[in-house]
């Protein structure tokens, strides 16, 4: 029973991750790319909680704690990234990722 439950959660996580991944591969818009990475994050977060719950039971909250940690980081990172996106947009008036190919160095 529990095995089945775990697999379901994992499936949800994997689906979220793959959606994010495909989004990241196919879209050009910087904000959408960013949203896609957030989706991948959430997929991983689901995995964390699922594994934590599965392996450690109800007494421990390592998985949940990690996710909270992850969310905080993601939030900080989001503010930074969106700020950057705004700056980039001001430079070139476009959100196309390919517009910044010259950054390859």
């Amino acid at each position: 029973m529990t095995v089945l439950v775990l697999q379901r959660y994992l499936a949800v996580g994997a689906i979220l991750f793959v959606i994010g991944l495909i989004g990241f591969m196919t879209r050009r818009n910087l904000i959408v790319l960013f949203l896609s990475t957030e989706l991948m994050f959430q997929g991983i977060a689901v995995n964390f909680i699922a594994f934590g719950r599965y392996h450690l039971g109800q007494a421990f909250f390592h998985g949940q704690a990690f996710v909270v940690f992850l969310l905080v980081i993601a939030a900080a990172e989001a503010s930074l990234a969106l700020g950057l996106v705004v700056l980039l947009f001001r430079r070139k008036n476009t959100l196309d990722a390919d517009a910044w190919r010259e950054l390859k160095g």
Binding site: L21, F24, M25, L33, A97, W100, R101, K104
Partner: protein, 728 residues
């Protein structure tokens, strides 16, 4: 010995001049100024007093003959003799403090007080004091007056440490210390490029010698496990010079490689002695050293420092004597240097250069003496030479002072009338140097010639011929400068900075046209402060020969013979030559007790004395005929041998050979290494850095295109590949 007051406070002998030097050096520039000589006068003066108190105290304790020396042929086992505490009746080692201690390497700062040290101290401090007094007059008004005296004080400090040291490392400290002072004083007029080059040369040539000396000390330590000359005197023979006696238990128990290495020691030490005492391959610095002020030439480059090599070899006799090869080398090099330098001196025109080569030559005599293991004649000659050579240098200093800085004997003549007092003093010095009887140089040179006669007739002949040359070049100088028609230079020499320029620079031209003698008389002051020290030296030059009068109860030789260095070296020869009597005059009275020996020696002495008087007379006569009676004949003689003249004037091109054979190749090597450093060594490093750069550059062109999604695909593929590898 312990009871002597002067022994207990012996540390003051080096310390006082050092304090004087520090006071003069740090307070001189701002506060003492023209009074900067006072700290040095006081410091060196007190040291001189202490030295003489020490010497006379020791003579007072001395019974008058070397009681401890076993009679030749007497059968006493070596160990008993070495252990005999009587050996140290006249010697004492005082440790001041532990200087260096690392593992087994322990070095005390301490003094060895024995007759040899006492005599050397008196020479150093006594002559040092006279010269510092002279210098106060000579250097008056110079820039850096205080500096000069600070250096002099430092020098006396280093020199006293050198002769007082009771171990090799402290000796080395004094050794390098006097080298430093020599460097600073030669370069005293540092604005002259010649002075600065001469100073550098002196230091570097000495460093070559010190390289050998330092290695010698290390080898001594590795073999003997100590660097002290003698043990602590409490019945143990733990000092190097005691352990080194052949046939002793210590040498027998050594590992084979150490026993084989022992013969190297004297050769290494010898290198140091050759450098410091300006012997043949390493003499080149001494003539150039005359760039220093004249009192320095007198003190350092004639009387004291340059004799350090002789002192060192006598001090370490035990290490040298058993090694006949080393002894022969010293004697040969000494003899060769004696004649070589005398030949160069024949054709020098600068007064100080003549005396410089003469010093080298006389040092050669001393080396020949110690090389034949006649330490007493060697030291005796050192003492008398200190007197008359200092006198000669200081007199030529007076001449230079009066002649506006000129020292070229072609520019002056007949100074007898211009500088009457100096003339007499100089004459005394010349007679002593030429080896005219009564004067000091005769007696000491005679003793060296006697040793040479006994050991090696070849060396004897060369030295006798050198004595002839010495008399000739000495009197060539004397006749040219002091006799004949009056001629004095009128233009101040370049770089002459004795304050004359201000006093006499504006002399009207017509005045000196009236008569050169008159103008010269105006210049030539012979101030008392410069003359009185010379008088004392002249008395020494005349009478020092009687110090070692063989018939005296207490002669210099007998006194020196009480030094443990000489006694142990005597034992070392004994052991080697199997009690054969090989020493003519090292122990003064003691040896003379054997009647047969005395008679034999007496006749030798007479023969040698007659021969050397003849040589000196011949030399003086040739000088007289070529340089006074008929000066043009001398020039004709020179013109007849142009090649030889050129070789002599170029000093046999030795400096040029050194430059081309040593300095330039090394410098070229330095440039080559620098090029290697920049291009090869760094190039290899650069190559190492270049490879990853190239790799990265290629990767950048091929994979890094700037497409965000492209990177993501690459990452994804990589993850897939990794997973495949991991799970399949």
């Amino acid at each position: 010995m312990e009871g002597l007051f002067a022994v207990r406070i012996s540390y003051l002998i080096p310390l006082l001049p050092l304090i004087g030097a520090i006071v003069a050096g740090f307070l001189g520039a701002r506060w003492l100024k023209e009074k900067s000589h006072w700290p040095i006068w006081i410091g060196v003066g007190l040291s001189a007093v202490l030295s003489f108190v020490l010497l006379f105290g020791m003579i007072g304790k001395w019974p008058g003959h070397a009681a401890a020396v076993p009679k030749p042929g007497e059968e006493v086992s070596l160990e008993t003799r070495v252990l005999s505490t009587q050996l140290k009746a006249m010697a004492m080692s005082v440790n001041w403090y532990r200087w260096i201690e690392a593992g087994d390497f322990k070095v005390e700062a301490g003094a060895l007080i024995d007759p040899l040290t006492a005599v050397m101290l008196c020479v150093v401090c006594g002559i040092g004091l006279l010269i510092t007094i002279f210098a106060a007059g000579y250097m008056k008004g110079e820039k850096g007056y205080f500096r000069f005296f600070a250096y002099l004080g430092l020098f006396i400090f280093a020199m006293t440490v050198l002769v007082m040291a009771n171990n090799f490392v402290l000796l080395y400290l004094g050794w390098e210390g006097v080298g430093l002072c020599s460097y600073l004083l030669i370069g005293f007029y540092f604005e002259r490029p010649a002075a600065r080059e001469a100073a550098k040369k002196a230091f570097l040539v000495n460093r070559i010698g010190d390289f050998g000396f330092g290695l010698g000390i290390m080898l001594i330590f590795v073999i003997f496990g100590t660097v002290s000359f003698f043990g602590d005197g409490a019945g143990t023979n733990s000092g190097v010079l005691e352990l080194a006696i052949p046939g002793g238990n210590f040498l027998g128990a050594l590992e084979p490689w150490k026993r084989q290495a022992i013969p190297w020691i004297p050769f290494l030490l010898m290198l140091g002695a050759f450098g410091k005492s300006a012997q043949f391959p390493l003499y080149v610095w001494l003539p150039d050293a005359m760039e220093g002020p004249t009192p320095v030439s007198a003190l350092i480059h004639a009387a004291t420092m340059v004799t350090a090599g002789v002192y060192m070899i006598v001090r370490c006799g035990t290490l040298f004597v058993p090694n006949s090869g080393a002894m022969f080398t010293i004697a040969t090099i000494g003899t060769f240097t004696a004649i070589f330098a005398a030949v160069i001196a024949l054709r020098q025109f600068d007064l100080k250069k003549v005396f410089a080569y003469s010093t080298i030559s006389q040092l050669g005599f001393m080396f020949a003496a110690v090389g034949l293991w006649s330490p007493v004649p060697g030291i005796f000659h050192l003492v008398t030479h200190a007197f008359f050579k200092a006198l000669l240098f200081l007199s030529s200093g007076v001449v230079m002072h009066a002649m506006l800085g000129h020292l070229d004997m072609r520019k002056m003549s007949g100074l007898r009338k211009v500088l009457p007092k100096t003339h007499l003093l100089m004459l005394g010095g010349c007679l002593a140097l030429a080896g005219v009887p009564i004067f000091a140089g005769f007696w000491s040179k005679d003793e060296i010639l006697v040793s040479a006669w006994v050991y090696n007739k070849g060396i004897f002949l060369v030295l006798l011929f050198t004595a002839f040359l010495t008399a000739y070049y000495t009197f060539r100088l004397y006749f040219r400068v002091f006799q004949g028609p009056v001629m004095v230079p009128t233009e101040a020499a370049e770089g002459h900075a004795h304050g004359h320029d201000e006093e006499h620079g504006h002399e009207p031209v017509d005045e000196h046209l009236q008569g050169q003698a008159h103008a010269a008389a105006e210049h030539s002051h012979e101030p008392a402060i410069m003359i009185w020290p010379l008088v004392v030296l002249a008395v020494g030059a005349a009478l020092a020969g009687f110090l070692n009068w063989p018939e005296r109860e207490k002669s210099l030789g007998g006194f020196l013979g009480e030094s443990p260095s000489l006694i142990l070296a005597h034992l070392a020869t004994d052991a080697r030559y199997n009690a054969r009597f090989v020493l003519p005059v090292p122990f003064g009275a003691e040896e003379m007790e054997l009647k047969a020996v005395r008679d034999q020696m007496h006749s030798v002495h007479v023969v040698v004395a007659v021969l050397s008087i003849l040589a000196a007379g011949l030399g003086i006569y040739s000088a007289y005929s070529l340089h006074l009676k008929n000066r043009s004949r001398g020039e004709e003689l020179v013109a007849r041998y142009p090649g030889l003249t050129r070789a002599l004037e170029a000093k046999f091109w030795v400096d040029e050979v050194y430059q081309a054979a040593v300095v330039e190749p090394l410098r070229g090597l330095g440039r080559l290494f620098y090029a290697i450093d920049r291009y090869v060594v760094d190039g290899i490093v650069w190559m190492v850095g270049f490879v990853p750069q190239l790799f990265g550059f290629t990767l950048k062109l091929s994979t890094q295109r700037g497409s965000l999604q492209g990177y993501a695909v690459t990452m994804l593929l990589a993850v897939v590949v990794i997973l495949l590898v991991l799970f399949l």
